[in-house]
Amino acid sequence: MATIRLENIKKTYEDGTTVIENLNLDIKDKEFIILVGPSGCGKSTTLRMIAGLEEISDGNLYIGDKRVNDVSPKDRDIAMVFQSYALYPHMSVYKNMAFGLKNRKVPKDEIDRKVKEAAKMLDIEEYLHRKPRALSGGQRQRVALGRAMVREPSVFLLDEPLSNLDAKLRTEMRNRISILHRKLQTTFVYVTHDQTEAMTMADRIVVLKKGEVMQFDTPSVLYNHPKNMFVAGFIGSPQMNFLDTRIEVIKNSYFAVSESFKIRLSERMYDALSLYRNKDVILGIRPDDLHINNGASNENNPEKISAHIDIVEMTGSDYFLYGNTGNQKITAKVTAAVRFNDDTDCELSVDTDKIHIFDKVSEILICD
């Protein structure tokens, strides 16, 4: 069990490329932290620095109370699950799982007990004598998890462990990993580019962009109160709608106005928006917060956006509507109970309590 602290971490490669400029993170004991971000944002590099597989150019890394910058990977009391599983191809599943313990001179009967316990937990008991090549992707992934588990490390590092699995298996393994975290009561640091994985598994999520932390908070805070447009756009599927608007004050009421709609904003935003009178801002509305207005006025959501729907995607329980309002793209997620066709005009009512307003230049949240 351990806390992890990254203090002013910098990573510059030999060719002079700086991937991480000044990273600060405080990870609590037993927390499940997910590093998420687009390709090249430095999430895997951060994980590899925690593992000791990548040198730290500057700053301090603590696991527990110990500064581990110069401690070799084997002495950091960590275990890692790799994207490619990295199983030893010439060893049986049993030997793969026992290898780390054998190197640490753990008695044979204890190794046997631990390997069999982990195998039982992961449903791989019957494959213990097989070589990795005789296993499916999901089974290999479980062996990789088992190999890390038997070591009972203070910190569990997982580098995109589900990205090679098909969608169905990914959901299953997601649940298994969450259960595993609950059972093991160990600090987990997990890297992924899939925001669904991040939202469903993490206690807290670190959203990274070009080596900088954009926001570090719980999934619900990230979803409901993103600090900037990057986080707002990255978390949530389909992506949040960003609409160019202008703040206008008419009869003491604040409105977000564009060429195709005019929305009266909630009173609680007035203070924050006082500096933005007659200025351009970005209006952020999640597709879930747009509803179909069937002609009748909606008492709860009287504010409307006129839109032309180009394409309707049926996902089972919901429709995704892709279209335009004026010359701006807009996406709405509506329940499949309402039937909808391609290439139609409609009015979308807006849940004004859930609107986010961002500064157009800095892309930072003004109010939500």
Binding site: A86, L87, Y88, P89, N103, R104, R147
Partner: protein, 279 residues
């Protein structure tokens, strides 16, 4: 399309059959003549042995007696096994280092290894023999490092190609599992190199087993290897050569290496292709 494919196959098959015959015919003649009396070998080398010309294993007995075969066989075995083991172990380690530690020095060393492959032995043989003699390498065990030097160019090349295709994560996993560099190499990397190790072993074993010039120059006639022993046994005035014994010794000399090759040949193609494609 099918008939065209079949035609192509037939042409390839005929061509390969023709090549096989050309390569196997001399071996066939050697085996055939090793069972004939020496006068019949010179007189009618292509004829199959009959009741009058067949001498059974007499040539084999004569050959072994004449050439002092058993000590030479033992020496060749020690040199071949020792050199091949040294080449496989040391060059695989060198290739691993060259591939995984990327800097100017390792790059230069790699190109030096490659360069050593194109330098003909004859160019350096006299200088080398003189240096090796001064260093005391003119003995059965002393020649092993010399073979290691000559065999390392091609072996490092083959191993590097294969190692480049191995995922680095496996070695990183071993590091996290508590291995230092040596244990990582011997318990994780080396077992994965099996196909290339066998290829390297076969190619070097064939060359070292059959080599004549290096042992002749370095070990002389005191510590004869098989090929040197056979050559010396055939020396003498014209007509005094026992061709039957000579043929029999040739057959005995090639048997071990042919068995070794047949035993491991399924790996040779895999090893060469892996190195080539992944390199």
């Amino acid at each position: 399309m099918n008939s065209r494919k079949r035609l192509n196959h037939s042409i390839s098959f005929t061509f390969l059959l023709f090549l096989s015959v050309i390569f196997l015919f001399p071996i066939y003649l050697v085996v055939l003549n090793s069972f004939k009396s020496k006068f019949n070998i010179v007189g009618s080398p292509f004829k199959f042995p009959n009741e009058d010309t067949f001498v059974g294993l007499e040539n084999y007995a004569n050959g072994i007696r004449m050439s002092d075969l058993m000590p030479s066989f033992l020496r060749t075995l020690i040199i071949t096994v020792g050199s091949v083991l040294a080449i496989v172990i040391f060059t695989s380690m060198a290739a691993w280092f060259i591939v995984r530690v990327k800097n100017r020095a390792t790059k230069t060393i790699y190109y030096l290894f490659l360069f050593s492959m194109i330098v003909p032995f004859q160019m350096i043989m006299f200088a080398m023999v003189s240096v090796c003699s001064k260093l005391g390498l003119n003995s059965v065990l002393g020649i092993i490092p010399v073979y290691l030097g000559f065999g390392s160019g091609m072996s490092v090349f083959l191993f590097s190609g294969f190692i480049r295709g191995l995922p680095h994560e496996i070695e990183e996993a071993a590091m996290i599992d508590g291995c230092g560099p040596l244990r990582t190499f011997f318990t994780v990397v080396f077992p994965m190199l099996k196909p290339t190790s066998i290829t390297v072993a076969i190619l070097n074993a064939m060359w070292i087993w059959n080599d004549f010039l290096l042992p002749y120059l370095l070990l002389g006639t005191q510590n004869k290897t098989l090929s040197v022993a056979i050559q010396i046994a055939t020396q003498g005035a014209y007509g005094a050569i026992d061709w039957g014994g000579f043929m029999a010794m040739l057959v005995l000399a090639i048997i071990p290496i042919v068995i070794f090759y047949l035993f491991c040949q399924k790996y040779i193609i895999k090893g060469v292709i892996d190195g080539a494609v992944k390199g």
